[in-house]
């Protein structure tokens, strides 16, 4: 069968209506259906994201004027710590694979579910347990942690705040990530539809494949490192504390050996989403399919060897500094290959401008700014000046929020009709995006300038010279949150009241568009046979 030429009619109840062994909420939290698990992650993450975004807004309100505005220094320290831990460990690292990978990987490769559905459900339960333990650090013990999300040694075992639950929770979350990674790798190796060779697999699954390998191979390192902090705090072993004969820079090595590849866990699936959206709305075969696949794997591979660029001012050897700087510049090559391929796909295309496409275009804009500012930080000389300033905060928000966040909302608007069987209000969706995009740039662009003139990150106070750009940035934060409120309200409201969506509202060509919206419980009445490449618009 040609991908998406025929819509498979299925008389099975859809996954939202299906009544299994359990009722009510138990039909969700004990469901092994990959689609329900995807939605469980989505709802969990939306709640956590809203809370962490409010923390971010409160921090920006604190920074609207020098001195104490709405909180004291210690509260500010715990706010940026919780904001970082929640956003990184609970949202952007698991985000796209857990929500859209779970929901769409089996649909896109023509399978009825993932390879290990029970392990999949266990991953969500581990995720919730880890999240609960992390959040408990706020309410029990000796006050919320104040180390930042990186838990840098030696402060992380000297601070009197409640470190152990935060670190233990992050350690437990790693198991969820590894289990999902293994599940996806096996699913793609063993369960692709007949005829779907590796080179006929759509690009979002390819991105998930690269991501899964990083999850499986890099996450154990941070797991062990976090465990070492726990042992250091409880047994005073002396891995990282110089007073006990340890080396604090060893902590930074171990932490970033995972946490830099984790940036690629965040961004690779985002790139996969963009590779799905662009050909669908360009009505054109993606330019350079193989180059995109190879660049995905190249980013995943080279991404393992660049962790040291987080440590340029930590006191590493000169040899290590040059090596990490060169390797960092190398990652730009496969990233640029993708950008050029997406732009080339748009060349002379019959573009249908819809909300998901606009999200993809905004992604290209902000990701380019994030990527190019990363080149500035990758250069040793510039890094000495900009390290630990607001410039770095602006850079990684352009990459992490601008990359993964935009792709997440792009994916949500792209696959929403398939997930819920209803269409959102496109007018409000576009207004929400416009407000959000304007707010985003107003918030983060001034921070590049602030960093260049020397404003350090992670301070609740600043000198008068930094006041003007901080007012603009804080105003941007309010605007951006207003945009988010419009976007999320529209999506939540439309899940019940939106127009009924057809099976293939965007005229997509991949397999998920061949099943009904919402999909039936087991996706395909008959497993499809794939004969052509994805994105075949010719």
């Amino acid at each position: 069968m040609h991908m998406s030429d025929t819509v498979i009619q299925n008389h099975e109840p859809n996954y939202l209506e299906y009544q299994g062994r359990y009722k009510g909420i138990f039909a969700w939290i004990f469901s092994t259906d990959h689609k329900r698990i995807g939605l469980l992650y989505l709802y969990s993450m939306l709640v956590l994201f809203s809370a962490a975004a409010i923390l971010g807004l409160l921090m920006k309100i604190e920074l609207i004027a020098p001195g104490k505005t709405i909180m004291d220094a210690q509260t500010y320290n715990s706010f940026f710590t919780l904001h970082g831990i929640t956003m990184i460990f609970l949202i952007v690292v698991p985000g796209l694979p857990a929500v859209f990978g779970n929901f769409f990987l089996p649909l896109m490769i023509g399978a009825k579910d993932v390879a290990f559905p029970k392990l999949n459900l266990l991953s969500w339960w581990i995720y919730i347990a880890g999240a609960a333990i992390v959040l408990s650090s706020q309410f029990f013990g000796d006050g919320p942690p104040d180390t930042g999300w990186t838990f840098y040694a030696p402060y992380s075992f000297r601070t009197g705040t409640n470190m152990l639950p935060a670190v233990t929770g992050a350690f437990i979350l790693g198991f969820s990530s590894i289990a999902t990674g293994i599940n996806f790798i096996v699913t793609m190796h063993r369960m692709r539809a007949p005829g779907m060779t590796w080179m006929k697999m759509p690009l979002f699954p390819w991105a998930l494949y690269g991501t899964s390998w990083i999850q499986v191979l890099a996450t154990p390192i941070v797991g062990i490192t976090l465990l070492m902090i726990v042992l250091e705090r409880t047994l005073q072993i002396g891995f990282f504390d110089p007073a006990l004969g340890g080396d604090p820079i060893l902590y930074q090595h171990l932490f970033w050996i995972y946490s830099h590849p984790a940036v690629y866990i965040m961004i690779l699936p985002a790139m996969g989403v963009i590779s799905e959206i662009i050909p669908t709305f360009a009505r054109k075969t993606i330019f350079g399919y193989k180059a995109i696949v190879v660049s995905t794997l190249a980013i995943a591979f080279v991404g393992y060897f660049v962790w040291g660029h987080h440590m340029f001012t930590s006191g590493m050897s000169g040899t290590a500094l040059y090596t990490f700087s060169i390797l960092t510049f190398l990652v730009a090559i496969p990233s640029a290959i993708k950008i050029f391929n997406w732009v080339a796909t748009l060349h002379k295309a019959s573009i249908d401008i819809q909300t998901p496409f606009l999200w993809a275009l905004c992604f290209l804009f902000v990701f380019m700014i994030g990527g190019l500012s990363g080149m500035v930080l990758g250069a040793l000389s510039a890094n000495v000046h900009l390290h630990d300033t607001a410039f770095v905060v602006a850079h990684f928000h352009f990459i992490v929020f601008g990359g993964t966040g935009y792709a997440f909302f792009g994916a949500l608007h792209y696959w929403y009709p398939k997930m819920f069987g209803r269409m959102y209000d496109k007018g409000w969706a576009n207004i929400g995006l416009a407000v959000f995009f304007t707010g985003f740039n107003t918030l983060y662009l001034p921070m590049f300038y602030l960093g260049m003139i020397g404003m350090p990150r992670r301070y609740y106070d600043y000198v008068e010279e930094f006041h003007g750009p901080n007012i603009v940035s804080s105003f941007g934060a309010m605007l951006m949150i207003s945009g988010l409120v419009i976007i999320i309200t529209n999506l939540v409201r439309s899940a019940r009241k939106g127009e009924i969506a057809e099976a293939d509202p965007w005229k997509g060509k991949t397999l998920e568009w061949t099943v009904a919206s919402p999909p039936p419980l087991e996706n395909f009445a008959e497993i499809p046979v794939v004969t052509k490449r994805p994105y075949d618009y010719e």
Partner: protein, 95 residues
């Protein structure tokens, strides 16, 4: 996609030999801690631990009897690990 199934039954005798070898290497790794090997202490411990892992991977985890593809994948992972260690030591050795 891959449909063929392949089973290989390992003899009990082989398992017993591997078990004895693993136990011997464990005792050796404990015993050599009493010797002063100087700069070779870590290398000796890693060599013994590495040999034990290799035995477990090849025999207990059936890598020896599986398709070459899996050996290549596991080899790739070890290569990655070795590269990470090598790059880390570009800091420690030249500091």
């Amino acid at each position: 996609m891959e449909k063929e199934q392949h089973t290989h039954i390992v003899k009990y005798k082989t398992y017993v030999f591997v078990l004895i070898a693993l136990l011997l290497m464990t005792f050796t790794s404990v015993a050599i801690t009493s010797l002063n090997l100087g700069p070779y202490t870590v290398s000796a411990a890693l060599l013994l631990a590495g040999s034990k892992s290799l035995l477990v991977l090849l025999i207990f985890m059936h890598l020896k009897f599986d398709k070459k593809f899996y050996s290549i994948m596991v080899g790739g992972v070890f290569l990655l690990f070795a590269s990470v260690i090598f790059i880390t030591f570009l800091d420690y050795l030249y500091r």
